[in-house]
Subunit: 251 residues, 2 copies
DNA sequence: TGACTGAAGAGAGCAGTGCTCTCGAATTGG
DNA sequence: CCAATTCGAGAGCACTGCTCTCTTCAGTCA
């Protein structure tokens, strides 16, 4: 960013600061609209400037470059999707809708998956920015990583809590070959690192499988890879996701 | 294309035709190199023209637009990946390497998955073009669909042949809820349509799951979604892919 | 062989892009 | 009230995709 966007304490903000915030918001809004309408390739700094009646060079007072703007949009999108996922994944059991719905771990997972898919369909270009092919400069380092892992962390959290509470069903009769020792150790370390100690390597593999399949399926549906197939088929999605969740041991 | 590239019978081609073919090839080669080096966004018609010592407008004699060039690259990439996958998926059992290797259906699937992953790692930008977020104009209609489904068809073929030969293991004790009737019917119709009559809806769901998980995992590995995780971990990939293949019933 | 047709390349030019720089005007904090 | 900072405007650079015109030359047909 051009100036570091430190959060100003509270009340006393100068008119300039308030103007800057508002214009930043308007720029982001216009950019987001163009992104939604034309996709990332069609997003031009000049045209968002034009939309706000300002000249292109003025935008550089707010964003260092087009890439910086795009990166900001990416972070925001990650947060939006993350918040959506978290809302479902971590919904307390006492929610109104929860009264009627099943609130088991399995239902939590499936509902979260559905929410992610729904968000993706509502924001296809943004989803593409997040989980499609990355373009060079974007979303480089630390900034995005915290937001970028949010959606996935929501999913992992479901499993981690279920595992910690001993609510995970034992794996089905071991038909799969055992994991290589090195991989098992790696996964165990990883689980500990993210504070999911109760997640065994076997469960981790199943979870990673479910995770990648979820986003793989959504991407295929969205990017037209399933054109000749059952497209946008919610029932298929549910079936596939449910089967993966069962394989993790969620019930 | 500017002129329809009908395959000239054989021998008698005029010098002009030969020149056109060669220049087309050189253009594609240069474009492919730039794509590999800088990614799709960095591929410019003018710079490939420059590389061949011609002026930008001359390139339009060979490709209608930048999008047409890119579409051609996409089709070629699909074919390259498809050929790679087919070579492994349909390798006769009598191959030299097959003597030492396992040639069961399971091994076939896993090896094909490995080949796809390896190709993706060798051609990251091309893979991104194929399975990343699509950009508006590209790869629109019929042209790509035949090539575009090749990699996936190689995988499906393994299952279809195994199913037809009755070599599929029965599903594990039914812990998953039965498929909705409508979905089952749809999948059955789909299977018949692609000439895989022996593939039951349950197997189809497992296969679609394995398929989407495969590409989801590769995409995550390639696009950096797994940065903080076990990155480029072949053992993890193998484990996940094997488990999915087992769920299909491959042995 | 010679003339006509069509293809290929060169070059100029247009509209658009991201980005830089400079120069006034306005707002701020001392 | 004044100096310092911030902001917007404008011109300009290098680049892009694409179109148009003009010239040259290979292929074909009489």
């Amino acid at each position: 960013m051009t100036t570091d966007e430190t959060v100003v304490p509270a009340v006393h903000r100068t008119a300039r600061q308030r103007a800057r915030e508002q214009i930043t918001t308007e720029l982001l809004g216009a950019a987001r609209r163009q992104l939604a309408a034309e996709g990332a390739a069609g997003l031009s700094l000049r045209s968002v400037a034009r939309e706000l009646g300002m000249v292109s060079s003025a935008v550089y007072r707010y964003f260092d470059s087009r890439d910086a703007l795009l990166t900001r949009l990416i972070v925001d999108a990650y947060d939006a999707l993350g918040a959506t996922a978290e809302a479902v994944a971590e919904a307390p059991e006492s929610t109104a809708e929860a009264a009627a719905e099943d609130t088991g771990d399995l239902a939590r997972w499936v509902n979260t998956a559905r929410a992610i898919r729904a968000w993706a369909f509502d924001h296809p270009h943004e989803y593409g920015l997040l989980y499609g092919s990355p373009v060079p400069g974007y979303a480089a380092p630390e900034t995005t990583v915290a937001s970028g892992t949010r959606p996935s962390r929501a999913l992992v959290g479901i499993v981690a809590r279920a595992a910690a509470a001993g609510r995970l069903a034992p794996p089905s009769p071991a038909e799969a070959p055992p994991l290589p020792a090195a991989l098992a150790a790696e996964l165990e370390a990883l689980a500990r690192q993210i504070g999911a100690d109760a997640v065994s390597p076997e469960v981790a593999v199943a979870m990673i499988g479910a995770w990648t399949q979820l986003f793989g399926l959504v991407s295929f549906e969205l990017f037209g890879q399933t054109r000749n197939m059952v497209v946008g088929n919610a029932a298929l999605f549910d079936a596939a996701v449910t089967r993966q969740a069962l394989a993790i041991g969620l019930r």
